[in-house]
Amino acid sequence: MSKPKIATTSLAGCFGCHMSLLDIDERILELAELVEFHKSPINDIKSFSAQCAVGLIEGGCCNEENVEVLRAFRSNCDVLISVGDCAIMGGIPAMRNMIPLEECLQEAFVDGPTVHNPTRAIPNDVEIPLLLDKVYPCHEVVKIDYHLPGCPPPADTLWEALVALLNNKPISLPYDLIKYD
């Protein structure tokens, strides 16, 4: 029997949650024995070619590409997990949600005190994914099966969750492993 496959991605995130996954220390060797990493920044596989058992999503959806990737994960993963506060509630990127998008772009590319932009142009190339009106938590875009909160979630939270799923058990986190910071 082939090993179960795990896919991971970082949408509007900072890769901190992926760092936390690496922070399981030597257990990463055990994990590599138990699972096979499929589409993931860890091995740089870019697209799905097989159904995966578990998908780990870091970051929320701030642009159309995030939505496309998230939908691909939902179609190709049996169990989809929002990892970290950005995936769960938008996180730091969602701080722009209280400000109109136009104002955000104006401040970032034209009016900001440290901006040097003589043409006053706001980037608008077809190659650049269009920004959404606001940053959306993943579960407001597709169905999410589990949420692992934290910024980032502790390495033990990720480990406990993966071990539970690999043993065909539902994820049940103890008090110390549910933290929002």
Partner: protein, 236 residues
């Protein structure tokens, strides 16, 4: 002599004094009922509804409902705890609660309640409302993004500080905490040592220049749920 009142809380016989609320009698008996707007030094407000219990099958707030002989009170049941979880979910999506950088994180009663109920994500869509921050006072921050409208500051300012610094304005979703000055907190008689400042259960009212003083792992709710027997009594 005060009359003794006997009632049942989750099947257990509790005795209290006439005139006590269900919460007061339960506290005395060592039974914690989850709460947010209630504070031991303040007049009960009955507004957050986290302390909802079923009294003879009807939902009531334990902080305002007086005890009576023979009543059946349900608190730690799946049905009641589901009601509480739903309220906490709503409080999280209704404000802008960015726990990851909030100074109150780890000592926040809203967050601690969510931990106690094992909430990993709220089930309602986030509202991301526009709320005002008042940083005008030299020693105090007022960040309405995190305000849960518990009214502790309003009551504490009047009842404990003998001032009238905070008050509610607006109705429904427009309801906000206002301060008693057009130019913000700096022009009120608010002082950093006021009880109104320290009773805030969340990070809406903060003292400046003391944030993150306690390291992660040693904060109030890092290891023990809110309502644990060993919890610091001053926070209840």
């Amino acid at each position: 002599m005060e009359k003794v009142v006997t009632f049942l809380l989750d099947g257990e016989v509790i005795q209290g004094q006439e005139g006590q609320s269900i919460m007061q009698a339960a506290d005395k008996a060592g039974k914690y009922i989850p709460r947010l707007c209630a504070h031991k030094d303040l007049t009960p407000h009955g507004s957050c509804r986290i302390c909802t219990v079923l009294v003879n099958g009807r939902p009531q707030s334990a902080c305002t409902q007086p005890i009576a002989d023979g009543i059946l009170v349900e608190s730690e049941t799946p049905k009641v705890n589901q009601l509480r979880t739903d309220i906490i979910d709503m409080l999280f999506v209704e404000g802008n609660h960015f726990c990851m950088f909030c100074e109150k994180s780890g000592n926040c009663e809203l967050q601690a309640l969510a931990y106690r109920f094992g909430i990993t994500a709220p089930k309602y869509p986030y509202q991301f409302p526009q709320r005002d921050v008042d940083a005008s006072h030299p020693d105090i921050f007022l960040d309405r993004d995190r305000c849960v409208l518990c009214g502790r500051c309003v009551r504490a300012s009047k009842e404990l500080d003998g001032k009238n610094v905070f008050q509610f304005v607006g109705r429904g979703v427009e309801k906000r905490i206002a301060v008693n000055s057009e130019k913000g907190l700096k022009d009120t008689d608010a002082d950093v040592v006021d009880k109104a400042i320290s009773v805030c259960p969340v990070g809406a009212i903060l003292k400046k220049r003391v944030g993150y003083a306690v390291p992660v792992g040693r904060r109030l709710y890092d290891h023990q749920p809110i309502g644990s027997a060993s919890e610091d009594e001053t926070t209840k």
